[in-house]
């Protein structure tokens, strides 16, 4: 397995993953979306709500706020040994909010009982309060899995495509393919059509260039064991940590299978 990083920032990443099978690449993608646990608000005790939103709508908005997650301190609630899934300081964290209008309530107004655990974005509007409207609540966040609800989904827009391979042979330099390519990556030289090394990753494998070439000089193919991966994190983890956690999840599952097989 080889990883070649193209872009890496706090919230997003783009890399080429090569010498792996399609199922492994898809396993990583699915683990990033569904199997890396994060913290999200699961229930809300409302003490006062005179805002324009119903209690349920308010709870929905709160639950979708990504929360910076510390996977070392917290465990998924369903797997918590301390409380057996009832809720305890090892698997949940409480955030309180109290506000009075006029003004907009933002995610930064949530006061967490654990200073390390904070909303990932401070400026998510929760509700706009008019004069005299009040909001007092306590929200409890759990660790959970993306497969159970989107609010626990750490990976956003995770996807991959095979690395394109373009072969040009016996080209008569007519220029049709360069005009047709929607990505504009086919350059035109005297000797014929060319695609540069770095541009080839932009190819969407649409094969329009193949269709317009009358003499079948251009062939678009892809490498079955190399993938261009794009991923984004919702902020619960950095993009780097999310990818590492996803790989660890797969490793953990493989070890689990081995230990089950050992019992037979």
């Amino acid at each position: 397995m080889e990883v070649d990083i193209l872009e890496l920032s706090d919230r997003s990443a783009k890399f080429v993953l090569s010498k792996v099978s399609t199922s492994f690449a898809n396993g990583i993608r699915r683990a990033m979306i569904a199997d890396v646990p994060t913290l999200a608000i699961e229930y809300v005790n409302l003490y006062d709500n005179t805002s324009v939103l119903y209690d349920e709508q308010l709870a929905l908005r709160l639950s979708l706020i990504p929360i910076v997650t510390d996977a070392e301190t917290y465990v998924p609630q369903a797997e918590c040994d301390v409380c057996g899934g009832e809720g305890c300081p090892a698997c949940e964290v409480s955030l309180t909010l109290s506000a009075e209008g006029p003004g907009t309530v933002y995610s930064r107004d949530l006061i967490s009982s654990d200073p390390k655990i904070q909303p990932a974005d401070p400026t998510i509007p929760i509700v706009e309060l008019k004069k005299g409207q009040k909001l007092v609540l306590e929200a409890v966040a759990h660790m959970g899995y993306g497969r159970d609800s989107v609010k626990w989904q750490a990976g956003v827009a995770c996807g991959y495509k095979n690395v394109p391979v373009i072969n040009i042979q016996n080209c008569d330099a007519c220029g049709h393919c360069a005009a047709e390519c929607p990505k504009g990556i086919i350059r035109f030289e005297e000797s014929g059509a060319k695609v540069s090394e770095e541009d080839i990753l932009k190819c969407s494998l649409c094969r329009l260039c193949e269709q317009v070439c009358d003499i079948h000089a251009i062939k678009v193919d892809f490498d079955e064991n190399a993938f261009v991966f794009t991923m984004e994190s919702d902020g619960s983890y950095t993009a780097r940590d999310l990818a590492i956690n996803a790989a660890n999840v797969i490793k953990g599952k493989a070890e689990e299978i081995l230990s089950i097989l050992d019992q037979f």
Binding site: T50, V52, I65, P66, T123, I124, P125, V156, A157
Partner: protein
């Protein structure tokens, strides 16, 4: 209120609403503002472009 996340991809987009509203109100081009804010996918762009703020309409009827 603007939905917290994009319905399709799940990216948080509500935190850009205030800035978008202010800058478009000041006369900037909506597409340029969205590009500048880093909202690249069209699923996320439509969330902001098609949003209608109803709080002021509803608030008198409590």
């Amino acid at each position: 209120m603007i939905p917290v996340r994009c319905f399709s991809c799940g990216k948080v987009i509500s935190n850009y609403w205030d800035e978008y509203k202010r800058r478009v109100g000041d006369g900037e081009d909506a597409a340029a503002v969205l590009d500048d804010l880093g909202i690249t996918r069209y699923c996320c762009r439509r969330m902001i472009l098609s949003h209608v703020e109803l709080v002021d309409v509803l608030s008198p009827y409590q």
